[in-house]
């Protein structure tokens, strides 16, 4: 087995005649934050539920840290934290008691649980609520606790299935912030997250695995999804009508693929390389153009829709 933390080999799940996961092969790279994308019914949640042993595979293998979860779920899930959808907690327990329960289950001693619980509660901003019963919590608060319990024991893998589903915009933002912090602070952590929300995936993930009809369509770095044939489209908002001379000047820049007028704006195609974007911003500031805003076209959405069409 390779040292990839998650390896899915010919995984299949059938519900009668319906094939939810169709001989899926997928490898999640170590220390990556991979977004699992795909339309409704693509097989994302089913795959993650097999990985977390909530459902059984019809055939195939799914390795977590080198252990096949279909054969040894206890061993495979030993170093894994999970948040599947929006889980509920025992309403009569407090966050501290819930963490103690989960901590004891995964073999942490009392001192370890106590110390790490405090640390995690701070991370998920729930310290003030640690002794209140979970039955009184809002959905957003419960989801932060769900994320917290997934971090107990410093797992090497975290599996998230639509972790912001059903939350209000504030709740979504809070969860994203927590996830960003986890990603930035952890050195040896692989995260895989399914989501329908493309900006969320763009914001958090560095890789994307696109699934449709239960099979892998594309698996690559996020930059490969964001650019169309290696380019990015940027719209420069200009105060006043941009002159032809100004457009020619931009077009003449050696890293610009094309520049053209788009009403009062200028559509500029450049290389997807982030350093090129930085150069463009600096050069536009030097020109006498009165640029008051730059927006990047959501190429991930375009790619997403194209992939759905192609994989029909």
């Amino acid at each position: 087995m390779s040292d990839n933390p998650i390896e899915i080999v010919n995984l299949r799940k059938e519900y009668g005649k319906f094939v939810a996961v169709n001989d899926l092969n997928l490898t999640i790279k170590k220390n990556s934050f991979t977004g699992l994308l795909g339309p409704n019914g693509a097989g994302k949640s089913t795959t993650l539920k097999i990985l977390t042993h909530l459902i059984n595979a019809t055939s195939g293998e799914a390795y977590l840290n080198g252990i096949d979860v279909t054969k040894d779920p206890k061993g495979a899930l030993t170093d894994v934290g999970t948040v599947i959808e929006t889980p509920e907690f025992y309403p009569y327990l407090t966050p501290k008691e819930t963490f103690r329960y989960v901590g004891e289950l995964i073999g942490m001693n009392r001192e370890q649980i106590s110390a790490q619980s405090q640390e995690i509660l701070e991370k998920v901003k729930m310290t003030d609520w640690q002794d209140k019963r979970l039955g009184t919590f809002s959905k957003g608060m419960r989801q932060r606790i769900a994320l917290g319990q997934a971090l107990l024991g410093d797992p090497k893998i975290i599996i998230l299935d639509e972790p912001t589903s059903g939350l209000d915009p504030r709740g979504m933002a809070e969860i994203r912030e927590v996830l960003k912090n986890i990603r930035n602070e952890s050195k040896d952590l692989t995260i895989v997250m399914s989501s329908h929300i493309l900006p969320e995936v763009q914001d958090l993930c560095d890789r994307i695995a696109f699934i449709n009809h239960g099979t892998l369509v594309k698996d690559d770095d996020i930059s490969a999804f964001e650019s169309s044939e290696g380019t990015r489209s940027i719209i420069a908002k200009v105060d006043g009508l941009p002159t032809d001379e100004a457009i020619r000047e931009i077009d003449a820049l050696d890293y610009v693929v094309s520049a053209e007028r788009l009403g009062n704006d200028i559509a500029i195609n450049i290389s997807a390389d982030p350093s090129v974007r930085a150069k463009l911003y600096a050069d536009l500031a030097q020109m006498d153009l009165n640029v008051y805003g730059l927006t990047e076209e959501d190429s991930l959405e375009e790619t997403y829709l194209d992939l759905i069409k192609e994989s029909r």
Binding site: K49, T52, H53, L54, I55, N56, P73, K74, G75, A76, L77, T78, V80, T82, I84, E85, T86, P87, E88, F89, Y90, Y92, L93, E97, T98, Y101, V102, E104, L105, I106, G107, A146, Q149, I159
Partner: protein, 342 residues
């Protein structure tokens, strides 16, 4: 770090107990247990029957003949939701995704339910034993202990059935209702049908459960004493009624007719007059009418199971029946639970 299954069983059991004790259904179960005891005791005072509780038989009859029903209610409230609630309330998404075998979770749940339910039953037995020790002249701690043992086995067996229901259905409330229906209504019906015409029904859950009070010899003796007295009274009544002939009735009819014509009868209270008139009408029907029917009914009563003498139960056999019910129930529930998908 891989944690041993035994450690995880203890963790699950402990937390299931904490979770359950803080829940509303635990409080309701506790209220039922205490309320039943208080109600039975209060009724003894209200009906001036408190002094009649003077033997182990009377203690069992008073406090334990309805106790299997109380146990069933407690089990239906607590055990029937043990598995289904994980799916219905989505807590399985936290617990089942941890490095823990489903079997470990199952054993933890079985143990926690058994411990909590046993504690409630123990509380009832402590109160009832105090009454027995104070009132029963033939008090036997051994009999109470045997009864408690059977009560625990019945609880575990009923809990096994509740777990089966809980592992198949999707709603906790449905599981509670089905468990009550199965144990309190369907099982006694099947048991009664199986026991008709001298059929065997010792293997039924309710029959084995009744052993928790029939295992006390004083109860069986008391029951048989009442039963024998009742049979003797009915036999006497049959003999008296069979002694009546049309010829034998005529003097009585004539005498009543003459009496009803007297001034003394006219001065009687109207309700007494009506009674005498009814008696006269009854005698007029002769032996072919009501008398024959009455004799037939009385004879049927002496042969009905209602007053059939009770045998001392084979406590060991009934305990084994309860163990088998529990074992079968838990095995079916376990097989379903470990395969159940979210």
């Amino acid at each position: 770090m891989m944690v041993s299954d035994i450690t995880q069983v203890m963790v699950v059991t402990k937390n299931e107990i904490i979770k359950c004790v803080r829940g509303k259904k635990f409080m309701v179960s506790l209220i039922i247990v205490f309320l039943v005891f208080i109600l039975i005791t209060a009724l003894q005072f209200l009906t001036n029957s408190w002094d009649s509780i003077n033997s182990m038989g009377m203690v069992m009859s008073t406090y334990f003949s309805t106790f299997p029903m109380v146990i069933t209610l407690v089990v239906a409230l607590l055990s029937s939701i043990a598995i289904v609630s994980e799916f219905e309330e989505r807590t399985a998404l936290i617990l089942f995704t941890r490095p823990i075998r489903r079997t470990t979770i199952f054993i933890g749940k079985v143990l926690s339910c058994a411990i909590i339910e046993a504690m409630m039953i123990l509380a009832y037995y402590i109160m009832a034993t105090a009454v027995a020790a104070a009132k029963a002249s033939d008090f036997s701690a051994g009999d109470m202990a045997a009864s408690f043992g059977i009560a625990i086995l019945y609880t575990v067996a009923a809990s096994g059935i509740a777990f089966v229901v809980s592992s198949f259905f999707k709603k906790g409330s449905v599981c509670t209702i089905i468990t009550i229906l199965l144990i309190l209504i369907i099982t006694p019906i099947v048991s009664a049908v199986a026991g008709n015409d001298g059929g065997e029904n010792w293997y039924m859950l309710d029959q084995a459960g009744n052993t928790l009070y029939t295992c006390v010899p004083g109860y069986v003796d008391m029951y048989n004493e009442f039963s024998n007295q009742f049979v003797a009274v009915v036999d006497n009544a049959i003999q008296i009624l069979e002694g009546f002939t049309d010829k034998g009735l005529d003097p009585g009819k004539d005498w009543l007719q003459a009496y009803m014509a007297t001034a003394e009868f006219q001065e009687l209270d109207p309700t007494v007059q009506v009674s005498v008139a009814k008696m006269f009408a009854f005698l007029n029907l002769g032996t072919d009418g009501n008398l024959k029917a009455m004799i037939m009914v009385l004879k049927m009563m002496t042969t009905s199971s209602m007053i059939t003498p009770m045998e001392y139960p084979d406590v060991g056999k009934e305990a084994l029946v309860l163990v088998v019910w529990a074992f079968v129930g838990y095995i079916i529930a376990w097989v379903k639970f470990v395969r159940r998908e979210f």
